[in-house]
């Protein structure tokens, strides 16, 4: 307490120091606001908070196939507003053993009269399973340009990590298709 008494007597020089410290705190917290963006991604990776899956190809490294259980993997698709494409999984669901590699295909057709580029955004539910859903090859890693009325079959190769918690028996993978023609053009 005696220290504080002293500080209140000697005023002027301390204020500057203190103000500087506080301004630095403000700047640091502004930076922290932006740092939350990568932090959030890291946090989501660990916890599967938002059901985001890996954004680049995973290498297959499962320690073998767990044939003792089957996981239902369901596929759904959705076109974000305004995108005149046909876009759907060619198979509604598959059953796989954890560790087993599987290839399935999605069909896309640009039904508009202009050339377009689209980006599929994956999301897994339950979110916690996202970290165990490994895509070895996926059309969602890249943007997909299609000319007017052009169509394409797009492949997805994946496996479910055998570490997947045993209480999860069904996994749903959703793709939302976004029009990124403008962003891709510029």
């Amino acid at each position: 307490m005696t220290n504080q008494q002293k500080t209140s007597v000697v005023q002027a020089p301390n204020s500057k120091k203190l103000v500087r410290k506080l301004i630095l705190t403000v700047i640091a917290m502004f930076g922290f606001g932006f740092a939350l963006v990568p932090l959030y991604d890291v946090f989501c990776d660990i916890t599967g908070l938002n059901g985001k899956t890996n954004e680049s190809a995973a290498t297959y490294q499962a320690s073998g196939i767990d044939s003792s259980r089957m996981i239902r993997v369901q596929f759904i698709s959705r076109n974000a507003q305004n995108i005149p494409w046909r876009f759907e999984p060619m198979i509604r669901e598959v059953s796989v053993h954890p560790g087993e590699r599987k290839v399935i295909k999605f069909y896309a057709k640009n039904q508009s009269t202009t050339n377009m580029t689209a980006q599929a955004v994956p999301s897994v539910s339950p979110g916690i399973a996202a970290a165990y859903f490994q895509k070895i090859e996926c059309f969602c890693f890249n943007q997909q340009p299609l000319k007017a009325q052009e169509d394409v079959e797009m492949a997805l190769q994946f496996y479910v990590d055998p570490e997947l918690p045993t209480d999860i028996t069904t996994l749903t993978l959703s793709y939302t298709l976004y029009d990124v023609t403008q962003a891709a053009g510029s």
Partner: protein, 379 residues
């Protein structure tokens, strides 16, 4: 603010609506096991809070009545007591734990989405819901069915309101009773939230992401809810209606829906060769316009600029026909204009385009046939 006779209206309304009001004063017990657990938890906390409130406020009022200066009260000098401080830190902690236990078990139950019998994909968009049955591929939009004149009362033309005013839709979601139904929520544009109080299900529909929720309803019936997350202009006008059917009725309904899909595909094909008269197009077009377009572009065609442009004398509605058809069919990127190609039939699109080109003094004289629509979008 253009209300001159608001005063009279208000006076009148003080009396008139009472007869319709039949509002429960408490949280609904709902129609599922989970919703009943939620209700029990709600009541538990409510009773605990009421109890604490009575004690705390009681002591305060006691002091206010008996320890007042005007009654000659002299103030005591105590102002500290570690014992009491510890006591009233510890007791609340115990009470909180007593609440946390049932809350945790209910929550674990709510979050167990496994082993569902039926899976339904629910997509919110401005401002309607879309339902898709995962196993059957049946899909449809569900839109508010309360007529506009019932809620547009600016000109004081208050039409008599329906019993389920603002809580009614054209096609309700249909689910079977006593089956575990899993909902996968997502959104086409902004964040919406799908809420049916009777199921204790409220889950956000986030664009680009999916969320899960589930319910298992005991009794067939009709249950109503609303969008719970601000999603723009007509957030208050996108209700949810769920019709719970018995297992047998549900199976019949599924078969019926599949037949309807086949029929409408036939009708679509047939319409390509049909030619409709101008009157017929205009009549159908007006219906379609009021149901789908008027929320933004307004019944007058004047729109709500700048977000929702006018169609009256607009370059699109009076310019190139194909451009107009494509705009309606595919929407406009980067604007609020959705594509209606998946919601409306070729005939309906032909009609609404015809209507827009001839209503409100646009008078282009153009009439568009289903085949024209098909040709324009498949070029």
């Amino acid at each position: 603010m253009k209300r001159r006779n608001l005063g009279w209206l208000s006076l009148g309304s003080l009396l008139s609506y009472s007869a319709w009001a039949d509002m429960p004063l408490n949280l609904t017990q709902g129609a599922t096991e989970v919703s009943r657990n939620v209700y029990d938890l709600h009541m538990l906390v409510l009773y605990i809070c009421t109890g604490i409130g009575i004690i705390v406020f009681g002591i305060m009022f006691w002091s206010m009545i008996f320890h007042r200066k005007s009654k000659g009260a002299k103030s005591a000098s105590f102002h500290e007591s570690t014992k009491i401080e510890i006591l009233w830190t510890a007791i609340p902690i115990v009470i909180l734990i007593a609440m946390a236990v049932p809350a945790t078990s209910t929550l674990i139950e709510m979050e167990d989405n496994s082993n569902a019998d039926v899976t339904i994909q629910i997509t919110g968009s401005q401002w309607k819901w879309h339902y898709k049955y995962f196993d059957q591929g049946i899909e449809y939009y569900s839109v508010l069915s309360t007529p506009r004149e019932q809620y547009e009362n600016h000109q004081s033309n208050s039409a008599i309101k329906n019993e389920h005013y603002l809580l009614e839709v054209d096609k309700p979601l249909v689910i079977p009773a006593n089956k575990k139904v899993r909902f996968l929520m997502t959104s086409d544009d902004v964040i919406h939230s799908w809420w049916v109080p009777a199921f204790a299900v409220k889950q956000d529909a986030n664009p680009g992401f999916i969320n899960e929720a589930w319910t298992k309803v005991d009794q067939p019936g009709i249950y109503r809810g609303q969008c719970a997350e601000l999603c723009g202009k007509d957030h208050g006008f996108m209700p949810i209606v769920v019709e719970v059917k018995s297992e047998a009725d549900y199976q019949n309904w599924l078969i019926e829906q599949q037949q309807l899909i086949a029929q409408s595909a036939e009708a679509e094909k047939a319409s390509l060769n049909s030619s409709l008269a101008m009157d017929e197009l205009m009549q159908l077009g007006e219906q379609v316009y009021l149901a789908n377009c008027a929320a933004c572009h307004q019944p007058t065609g004047l729109g709500l600029p700048p977000a929702f442009p006018a169609l009256k004398n607009s370059p699109v509605a009076t310019g190139d026909i194909n451009e107009h058809i494509i705009t309606v069919f595919n929407g406009r990127v980067g604007t609020g204009m959705q594509g209606y190609g998946k919601q409306l039939t070729l005939k309906e699109i032909a009609a609404v385009v015809t209507y827009e080109r001839n209503a409100w003094g646009n008078n282009t004289g153009d009439s568009v046939q289903p085949a024209d629509v098909n040709a324009a979008v498949a070029k």
